[in-house]
Assembly symmetry: C2
Homo-oligomer: 267 residues x 2
């Protein structure tokens, strides 16, 4: 397992041209980036900024949302953007139920078809599609892929170098089948990203911004790190937290806490 | 499958001595009751009120919370209270992680042991322990039993007349293994309660009061009703919704909407 990576969403208000030198100064070797921020900054410019600082991009978040109009072209642009940034990992969040549909099976089938449609583009660009299961509380409005088992079934028809899965502790910690799932994903060579965040309560309204820094909540992060390491996973470990209170603090301070939480988890 | 039952939590501010005649007037034949409200009203008096109105009690909510001090005596009192009310179903919500523990496996083992300790009392009273899996978003603070599969594994060591499971659409709708789980639960004769509520977004702060009346959200309730009916389940169908806006409205109005939602689901 490689070292720590700071996912940009953890320090959402730290401008990229401060975040990158801040990470370099802290000895951090990788960052996970987000499309909106990268696009705003300029993709080529962001690629140079990171490269010149001696950092690598562990992943780009995110493609997916396969029920949106224009999803195919948008995801091709995301693959291209990942390629430009020099990362081999594009995280995909599938999107929720389309419109007023209640047909989860159909929505999940469409996600499988959409992934299949993107596989040739992904292979051509050398970018792996990393299917991220989100916590079931996001199933209706954000991601119909709710378990690691589902993500693995969606990936199954395609080569492991084209389609992998994301292990995000926040989304998966409640699932007693996740340990078997991680071992299976490892055997198949499909672990494309490993992300740390903790589960804290009470959840805020809308629940999106409820993630805690590693070590502040209920998740047995050490068990996750051990399980992922045992598969032979050789990627980075991203800390990815969304929380208003975390966002309101200075980037370097949050980075230090994220690093400490990571170290406690992987020690 | 028997008919509609109004779970008291749906009309939380409708006093019991108005709710019961209100249900009788609407042709409703059963109610699901809650321990706090029943205890406040008087258990014997509540039993008479319901019986004299020609209604039955479909379930009592709830026992469980097995990590609380005094859980054993408290759950024995709950079994006794269910017996007094004339219901054969005591819904159990297991409770979350104890204290600052991150050991979900240990918490779940304790739940299994606690259920086992209560089985003799349940059998003696003719009251079935109905293990309710709650949505995974409640896993840390309310219920470590997060899937129907887990609930069935916890029930497995005990006779079906002692330990059953609750099928609550709100908690289980996201799970693509739930259809197999319902069929298995049916074959084992373990479906002790079937509860309807819908999934609506955005979730409110704290997420407990986010349940929608049947028909207002994302859940394919007809598929659930069909799957449960096909097992030969012969209990009632409770509508159980927790929502501040629903609670703020007159009981008879909410009852009418709950009935309409139920009818659309089971039609």
């Amino acid at each position: 397992m490689r070292g720590f990576s700071l996912n940009q969403a953890t320090t959402k208000r730290w401008p990229l041209d401060e975040l990158v030198p801040g990470c370099a100064a802290a000895g951090v070797e990788a960052v996970g980036l987000w499309r909106e921020e990268v696009t705003e900054y300029g993709t080529e410019k962001a690629a140079s900024l990171v490269r010149d600082a001696g950092l690598t991009v562990s992943s780009l978040c995110r493609g997916g949302f396969f029920h949106d109009t224009g999803w195919y072209d948008e995801n091709r642009r995301a693959i291209e953007q990942a390629h430009t940034l020099g990362t081999d990992t594009l995280v995909l969040v599938s999107g929720g139920l389309p419109g007023s549909s209640r047909d989860l099976d159909a929505a999940r089938r469409h996600v499988g078809d959409a992934i299949g449609a993107l596989v040739p583009d992904a292979l051509a660009a050398g970018v792996r599609l990393a299917v991220e299961p989100l916590h079931p509380m996001f199933c209706s409005d954000r991601c119909v892929v709710a378990t690691l088992g589902q993500a693995l079934r969606l990936a199954q028809p395609y080569p492991a170098e084209a389609v992998g899965v994301v292990i995000d502790t926040y989304h998966l910690w409640w699932d007693d089948t996740v340990w078997d799932g991680i071992a299976t994903a490892g055997r198949q060579g499909r672990i494309a990203s490993f992300q740390l965040a903790d589960w804290i309560t009470p959840l805020p309204s809308g629940v999106l911004l409820g993630r805690g820094l590693p070590g502040t909540g209920s998740v047995d992060l050490r068990r996750f790190a051990r399980a992922v390491r045992e598969t032979g996973y050789d990627g980075h470990v991203e800390v990815e937290v969304f929380h208003e209170e975390v966002w309101s603090r200075p980037g370097p301070e949050v980075l230090a806490e994220a690093l400490a939480g990571y170290q406690a988890a992987v020690a």
